[in-house]
Every structure is written in C-alpha cells, then in structure tokens.
Subunit: 342 residues, 4 copies
C-alpha cells in the first residue's frame, strides 16, 4: 500500500511529529510505503511527490514546521483540480490514499474528496484550537506556552514602570489561546472574539487592577473586535488610505486604554513566534499518537474520517463532526476565567 501525506494551511508545531508517527508505524509495523506531497493540495494537483522513507523522518518529533511544505491551494480549483483529475493523478502514481493534515478548509476539502470516492484520512491541525470533535489539536499547547512565557516577561516590565501591558495573541475566530495564556499569566482582562466588550468594559477592568496596585495585563485575541469599534479600526484591516493597516488590534487598544484611563499603556503583538519552533511535550505526544493512529486507521480501511483526541484516547470521527461550526470558547469557560479578573 502506498500512501501520500500532505500538510496544508498555516504551519503549526507538531506537523513533523505527525508525519514521523505515520511513517514509522506504517513502515515498521505494516510494511506501507509513503510519498511526501509538497505544499499541501498544490502538490496533489501538480503531482509533486517524493519518496518518504523512515530515514527522512528521523529526529522530526522535536522539529517545528513541516518538511512537506504547505500552501492554501484548494484541490477543487484549477485545470488539474477536482476529484476526477486527482483520482487519475493518484492512480498514475499508484498512490492508494492520502493523509491530509490540516484545519477547517483542508478537512472540508478532504471530506468532499472522500464523498467523491477518494481514500482520504484527516488529521486535525489548528493552532487556534478552533476545530470541533477533538479536545485539543497539537500546536495549541505550544502556542499557549510561548504566549504565557512572553506575558510573564511583559509583567515584570509592566510592574517596574506601573504600566498597563496589552498582549495580542493568535486567534482569528476563537479565543482559546487568549483564554488559556491569559489565565496562565494572571491577566486582568481577556478579550476574545466570542465575548462582546466595549473599550469602557476593558478600561474598567484595567482601572480596577491598577487601583489594587497591580500593573494591568490585558490579553486580546487578534480576531477580537471592540463593541462599537469605529470604522477606521474596523476588521477590514485598512487604514484611511485603504492601505493595509500596520500592527494588530493590540496596537489599536493600547492608545485607547491610555487615553481613557490615564495609565501608560504599551502593546506587544506576539505574532508568528507563537506558531514556530519546537513543539511542547504535550504537542509532540499528541501529534505522534495521531500519526500512529492514522496508520492504524488506514490499515483498517477506515477512510473518510479523521483521528482526534477525546480525553486521553485517540478516536476516529467522521469528517462531518469536525466541520460546520467552529469550536468557540463557551460562555461558562469565559466566566470561569473572568472570576480571576477581580
């Protein structure tokens, strides 16, 4: 059996650990053969394959990024796209099935291809933790650790200067990184896309922390939008000249907080450092196990599903369970954290 592996969408610590897990289990236990597919679905439509042996994956559990490369190509677009073309391409290269490691978009495409008769198995990947049907996805824990560590640093400088520090973390549509890192770092306010807040709500929390003698820490998801946010600061991400706006929502909040509260305020946009580098122990174990179980699922012919974490177990779920709605932060989880704001 010959299996292609691809990684698609934004990169994420743990992708290489999944690849290693699949290939080691597949080659040593099941006698499978693997090909690496370059740059996600682009490599499928372009037939950009290379042999992926055990030798290629050695030492990868700790390596960030993906040795396969990634892209945001849609496999249904372009002259060589679509289920029929892809089917022929795979047949021509004697590839029996594909393991697609990716997020919402990737899994939706995988689902559609599976419905169109191709052998596709999914592995959920989302650094934002926005996929349903898995308790966590790899990359998220690493991002939380990096963000927490950064905030620990911001707090000492905030304390020294009696400043309010605003930390912007990843999370376009969901606030999980902000919630967890903010709770871990002892934030005085957490602003996430799921929970509407006005600038006055935020300033109120900031002032209360300041009144207790603390240097306030505000954590904000990149996808957070202020209630009543003016158009110039809108989520179109453009400035008044229709040029891409520089900086993030954190850069927007900081001067507003300073203006309203009178407390000196500085923003830091953590950005891409949250998705790079060596995965945490948790993410390496999770990613490796997902890879091992993906190999098992293939041997069982369990196509059209994705492997997922449920409690401490790896399970297989139909694509449909993971798709549709995003895994947003439920209100009770936000309120739980908000009890710490004081």
């Amino acid at each position: 059996m010959k299996i292609g592996i691809l990684t698609s969408g934004g990169d994420c610590p743990g992708l290489n650990a999944v690849i290693r897990g699949v290939v080691l289990k597949g080659t040593t236990t099941y006698d499978m053969e693997f090909v690496g597919i370059r740059d996600g679905w682009r490599g499928v439509v372009d037939a950009d394959f290379f042999p992926l042996t055990r030798h290629e994956v050695k030492g990868l559990s700790k390596v960030g990024g993906t040795i396969l490369g990634t892209s945001r190509t849609n496999p249904y677009e372009g002259p060589r796209g679509g289920a029929e073309n892809i089917s022929k391409t795979l047949y021509g290269h004697r590839i029996d099935g594909i393991i697609a490691i990716g997020g919402e978009g990737t899994l939706a495409a995988a689902n559609r291809l599976a419905n169109d008769g191709l052998n596709v198995l999914g592995v959920p990947k989302t650094i934002d933790n926005d996929l349903r049907a898995t308790d966590y996805s790899f990359g998220f824990d690493t991002a939380v650790n990096i963000a927490t560590d950064a905030m620990d640093r911001l707090r000492t400088t905030g304390d020294s200067h009696q400043r309010c520090m605003v930390a912007e973390v990843m999370g376009r549509h969901v606030g999980w990184i902000a919630l967890h890192a903010g709770m871990a770092a002892g934030a005085h306010a957490i602003c996430i896309p799921e929970v509407p807040m006005s600038i006055d709500d935020i300033c109120d929390l900031v002032s209360r922390a300041h009144d207790r003698g603390r240097a306030p820490l505000v954590v904000v998801s990149e996808g957070f939008t202020l209630t009543g946010m003016s158009e110039a600061y809108s989520d179109k991400g453009l400035d008044a000249f229709n040029r891409p706006r520089l900086g993030g929502i954190g850069d927007v909040l900081a001067p507003e907080i300073e203006r309203i509260t009178g407390i000196e305020t500085r923003a830091t946009v953590l950005g891409h450092i949250q998705r790079g580098g060596s995965p945490s122990g948790f993410d390496r174990v999770l990613a490796t196990r997902l890879g091992l179980h993906a190999a098992d699922a293939i041997v069982d012919g369990d196509w059209g599903k994705m492997v997922a974490l449920r409690g401490i177990d790896i399970v297989r779920v139909p694509f449909a369970e993971a798709l549709g709605e995003l895994n947003t932060v439920p209100r009770y989880r936000y309120d739980e954290a908000a009890a710490l704001f004081g």
Copy 2:
C-alpha cells in the same frame, strides 16, 4: 465561611496556582475567608494557621513550589492527631472545612477524615500522574516538558560521541513521565515499572538503534526494576555495605548496557529538577481551574469529594474513585509507544 488550605506530600509545579484559584474565587465571588495551613497535615494537628488573603496569592500562578510548605505527616498519628482532635482544633479556630491538595496518601487521609465527619475537599496532586479519576494532574505536564528538553540536549551529545544515553526520570510506581517524555524525545527504549524487561531486551533495542546509525536513547523510570536484576542492584537501594546506594537505576543500567553491547553509554538522573520551577501553561490552567472549582464545590457543600479533570471539563468525584489502585500505564499505551522503537 472560613476554609483552611493545605498542601501535602512531594511538591509539584501548580500547587500555588491551585491556592491562588481557590482564594481569588472564594474571596471575590463568594465572600469566603481562608487560612493557610503550614506544612500539610502537620499544620492541622499543630494548629499552625495563618490568614490567607487575596494579597497573599497575587502573582502565584507562575510560581513553583507551595507557599504553604508541605510534609508527609499522617493526620491520624501523634497525640493531637485523629478525627476527633482535629475536629476540635478546627472548631476552636472557627475553620469550617479543609481543602487538601495532595496525592494518594493525602487523599486517603482526607477520605478517612471525611468519613469521620469532617468537611474535607480534595484536589489531586501527583507529578507522576499515578492517580485514577483524573485524566491528568497538574505538575505532570511540566515534568514531561523538563524531561523532554533535557533529553533533546542529551541526544546532541549522544550523536556527537556515538554514545548510548540513559535518562532516568521520575516515576516510582508508574511510567507516565517516561512514556510521554520518551515518546516526545524519540527514545529507542522506554523502561517503566509496569512492563517487565530484562537487560537483554534493553540491549537488543539499543543495538538495533545503533545499527541504524542512531545514538540510542534509553528512558527509564526511577521505579523500574530489571527482570532478574541481581541482588546487589536490588530495589532495596543498598550497596554491599548496606549503605544507601548512590545514584539511581539509570546509573545501574548504563554500565551494564555498555558491557553487553560494547557501545559507550552514559547515564543522567534528572531528579528533582523535574518537580521544581515555574509550571507549564497547561499546568497553570489546570491547577487554576481545579482551584476555582474547589471553591464552587465548597459553596455547594459538596464535601468528601475531589475535583478532577475529565476531557476538557472539571468534575467532582468521590474520593473512593481516586483511591485503591494506582493509575498505571495500560499495556496498549506502552505498545503504542513501542511501535516507534524500531
């Protein structure tokens, strides 16, 4: 309502985060009052209490160890021990209940006190992850990260010298840290208390890795005993003069592996660094949530239980569920990891 909090047994990253979570939730949401109990059950029997205000717990989520101190005192021993004496002591100090943060022994004592009519709530603490009824306990994730990071370092030195490196990690009775850190670091052999292995089994794995050109990494739990281990190396921990044997099982294995395989082998016993220092993001979040929910449980009068992690939720379980048997590594989890040994 006035509540006492104690930490008992070996220390663990996250203890302070639990304490902070309880006190912040209890004081700001529920108007509770707290006293710190010094050095575990010793402070209960000695009435060694001090006021634990919100001010005392600020900034604690990132701080390792426990501000309450800890000991291994059994509350049923000594002239002032036992349920009746303790009941009087607590009554005398107008303490309405106790939150006991600890492992197997602590929770067993808490259970007995609860059965004897005292208001006791448990929070599971075990760096080894050996408690049932909770998916994970705080401290474990931090320990895995520290051990993984250490092994990443050991691997580069192993590679440079073409040596076999033996890393001994914590785990007196269960092999969870070895399993997870070993999987994360790409170990070629993992030796845990739950799975019998002879020195020849280990050397076989070492030699196979070496033959593939790798510098073998062997991870061993401190509580691992070799099948057929000679008496001089027995788990009595004594040397030939009945003096405490210096070093750990890793120090025992390394020269044996070198003797049998002919591969230069070095041991590192990671020891106490695994249980100290700032908790990981995962552990801070878990510990804080356990603390928040402990305050909720008290308000609900839900004594005689412990708070625990189930999937992504915090639940309450009777003490009995956590006691009795240890949470050992199941065979299928070991086999899963063993597929990576090659």
Copy 3:
C-alpha cells in the same frame, strides 16, 4: 553609612540582581545601611525612601524588572529638583550617597550631581548596549537570547511557507541586539541604524537567500531608517492623519519587501518581551558583580565614577568616559557579520 539606591529609565533584566549584590555585600561585609528610592530620580526629589534590608533583596537575582520602580524624571527639573535641594533632602534623611543604576540620561544627571558635590556612584544599565566604557551591560545578553529564541521560531514557520520573515528587535540608536541576535539566528540581512541601506539593498539580500532555497530572515533594529525612506514612513512615527503610526519599522519593511521581491513576507515586532523576565546567567553574574563592586567603591569613597565590565574584570571609570558618544556598532563588526549573508 546610609546609602540610597535608585533605578532609572527603561527597565532591564538584572536591575534587581544589582540591588541585591549591593545590599548583601554592603550589609554583611561593610555594615552599611540602605534605603530604596522609589521610581528613579522622582523618589530623590520627592524624598520617597524606604528601608532596604537584606530581607528585602532575598531571591532577587533571578527576578526581572526592578523592585524600586523606575521613571524618566530629571533630577534637575521641578521645584524640589537641582543639586542644592537634593543635597538638603539627602542630608535631612541622613543619606550619605546615592547609587544610580541607569543609562545615558541617568548617568549624565549623576555626573552633573557629582560635579555639584553630591556623592553619586553609577552602575551602567542599557539593554541596547549603547554605553561606552563597559564591554557589555546587563540586560543585553538576555535580550539577545530572547530575540534569538524568537527568530529560531520564526525560521521554522518561514521554512514551511517559503516566506521571508522580518524580525524587529530593540535598538533605538545602535544595532547591537540586531547584530548579535541576527548572527546567532543565521539572518540573511541585518539592518541597523549605523549602516545605511536602501530597500533595494535589503531586497537583494532577500532574493539571493531565496534563490539558494532558504526562507530569508531579515533582522531590523527599531531605530533603523531606510535610505530614501518616503515621508509617510518617516521616523516621525505618524501616519497620514498625524496619529501615532501603529506597528514598527518591521511592519513597514515587510510589505515593501513582498512588493519588490514577490516573496510572501511577514513581520514580527518583538517589542517589550525583550526587556522583561528573568535574566540570563551571564546577566545575573554581571549585574551581581557590578553590585558587589559598587559597594566596594563606596567604601573606598570612590564617588563620581561608575563600575563597568572590562574583559572579565569589573573596573571603575569616571562618568565622563561613558558619556558623550554612544557605543555604536563599528563598521568592521557589521562587515564581519555581513560575510554570513551569502
């Protein structure tokens, strides 16, 4: 003898280690007494003092920030400022001299006060490493480590997406952090205030790295200005509405690089995380030694100087040596690093 200690200007990892070094040496070896001065020179003019005992400084060598607080107050301004007023204030509180830990501005003020007859001793502090007369100042090494670690992370994400990554680091007037962290992380271009570069120079380096199959890494000091930089991107830091421009020079460079080279480019502005948190080993040792030697200098009556690092020794130099010109990156050091750009 009673000595006041102040920290002034931007905070920096190692400030607390200096304070601890002074107080431990002064109290245990020399029987000195210390007062902490709150918020830099502000605390001097406002007579905002508090007793600084050995107990206060315990455990501080690893703690980021400054327990004394800091400000940018000029001691010669305001109704209570100036040498004469300050002299009276100190006399009134029986303070025999001041240790001022700070950068260019602080040391210039200290020098002026010393010339006006006050007992002032300086300890150089600059995270940017822009002070002459000391080989390095504490904080710089920590900043380089944090920036290097962040860039290691950026590289894995750059590699996965075949992107150019731009990392903006601290350095308003000098490029030391960019030079060292860029060299440490294997940057393909380093842009510092001392060396003029046009956008075409940068794009040329980026394209060459890309042509060799690398994901280009560009490191830029916050104080770098492009040769021929258009007015809209000027260093006035304003946008077209005269509002403070969001983001940093990295945010300016990234879209230009992408536009000119056609290579997808992302910027990360590391910002305040570089100056917070626990100091590196190097900085703790340097800061502690500076503190120890500051106590010695005071006992010797060696006022009007600052302690400094020369090779592996701590020496005393007149303020004048450290003032005047900044410690810029010499051209040969830049060229040395540029040999690695390829």
Copy 4:
C-alpha cells in the same frame, strides 16, 4: 586552498557554529574548499574525510553537538599516527591545513604538529572554561544557563520542603561553572576544586542559611574533593568492590550534610544535560566569530596559533599561551562570590 576541519574531545554547544562560520566565510569570501574530518584526530590518521560544502553547514548555528563527530584519539599514537604520516595523508588528499577545534589535549597535539611543520590552526573549546588565553570559550555560557535554570527549579522544591539542595555541575579541574551558576542562582555555598573546604565548612554555611529561614543551595563542581575526604569517597571513583562508584560528589555530600546538620538534603547531578542542546546567543555569536576569524587567519597564513576572545575582540595567540597551566578560578573571584553566602 583545501582545509580540513576537526572537532575533538568532549562535545560542546557551539562546535557546529564554528564549523559554519569557517565554511561560510571561507567559501563566500575566500574561495576556499573544505573537508570534514570525522571523529577528531582519528579521522586524520584514518584519512576519514568528506566534502564540507556551504550546503552542509546551513542552519547549524543553533544545532548542538558536532556534525563532524568527535573522539579522544591522540594523533601521535598508532601505526598511522605521528607528524610524518599525517603530513603524507594530508598531502595525498591535497589538504593544505587543518583547523582543530578542541580543548587542552587537542591544542597540545595541534601545537606539536605545528612545531613538526604542519599547518594547524586552533579554536579553543572547553565547556569548563579551563583554557587560558581566551576570556571565555563557547559552550561555557550555555552550560551556565542550563545549570542556573536547573537550580532555579531546585530552589522552589527546596523552599517547599525546607530542604537543603545540592547541585553538582561540570568542572573536573576548575570551578567556573559552579562559580557562575552558583552566583546566578544565589547559592549559599559553592564548592570548587580550587578552594579547599571541609565538610564542616560546608555544613556551617548550610546551617547559617537555614537559620535565616532559607532552603540552602549548595553548588559543587564534579571535581571538588573534600578536605579530609575518607578513602571510601576518594576521587578514584571506585566503591568498596573496586567497581565504578555510582553517582557523583553531590551524591556523596548530600547524606553527609544531612547527617551533620540534621537538615533533610537531596542531591541532583546535572551531568550531560549541561553540554547538549542548542547554544545560547552568546555562545553562537562567540563560536561564529571564532569561525569567521579562523578563516581570516588561514588566508593570512597565520598557522600555529589559535583564535581567542579578548574583551569584545577576537585575537590570535600562539598555542603556547593557552597551554601549560589551566585557567583556574582565582581566589579573589571566589571571595567575591563568597560575600553573598551570608
């Protein structure tokens, strides 16, 4: 010009960064050609060479260990050893000179070969910092950071249990790592080979720290020998059966301290984790610069010397300056640190 590069002796973070620095500078600036020599001097006598191109060294500045491998072979031993044989071997492979990266033994051999007419250039490598003629060698800073981080962790567990913690660090003949890491971590006693101490001296420091309410931290170099150490604990490293003694000097000290002071005491032997893994920023910069300057020195025909750090400059010194005596910790540096013991 074709140059061979070798790494010899114990591995050290930064070796790969030196190799990368030499090769990048040599190939891009000077049009040199390089061969890698496998496993130190062994590869010279066995003519075990391989082409070392720019491609081979990419990304190496952050990678621990050495891609060349290392050994402790003496180039003057064996049938193919000696200056004449080696000269022939090099001539046969058209190798014009050798860059030898190593410690005392390596540089002594290099010196002898240079005196015997071979083109040899040295790069000092010692994780213990025991080489004269260079302010620091790469690897040392990384080891200090790792040891400091470990001790920060040990302190929280010591504080929680009111225990004395003993940390054994590297340093067979000199105490630099113990001195710097101990100072950085706030140790209450530092035991180094250069300074005689009896068990009573140590226990006195431990008890004084304990009396002040601190959990004592004792840092000890692996090469430290107690004044009056009994024969059973002698530095022969044998136990009573003439078997290699398990554990290190830290394992010896801990039970003695506990016995004498009555304070519960635990030892941790940090071991090989101090020499593995990714180098610190300081070490990457130092190692890279040494590599760059080694290429320059070769172009200048400056054989028979080694490159070294002096202040902030890289200089060239005759081998003789580095050899002979070790770079021990001077007494005034120890006393400086001892002022912090209290």
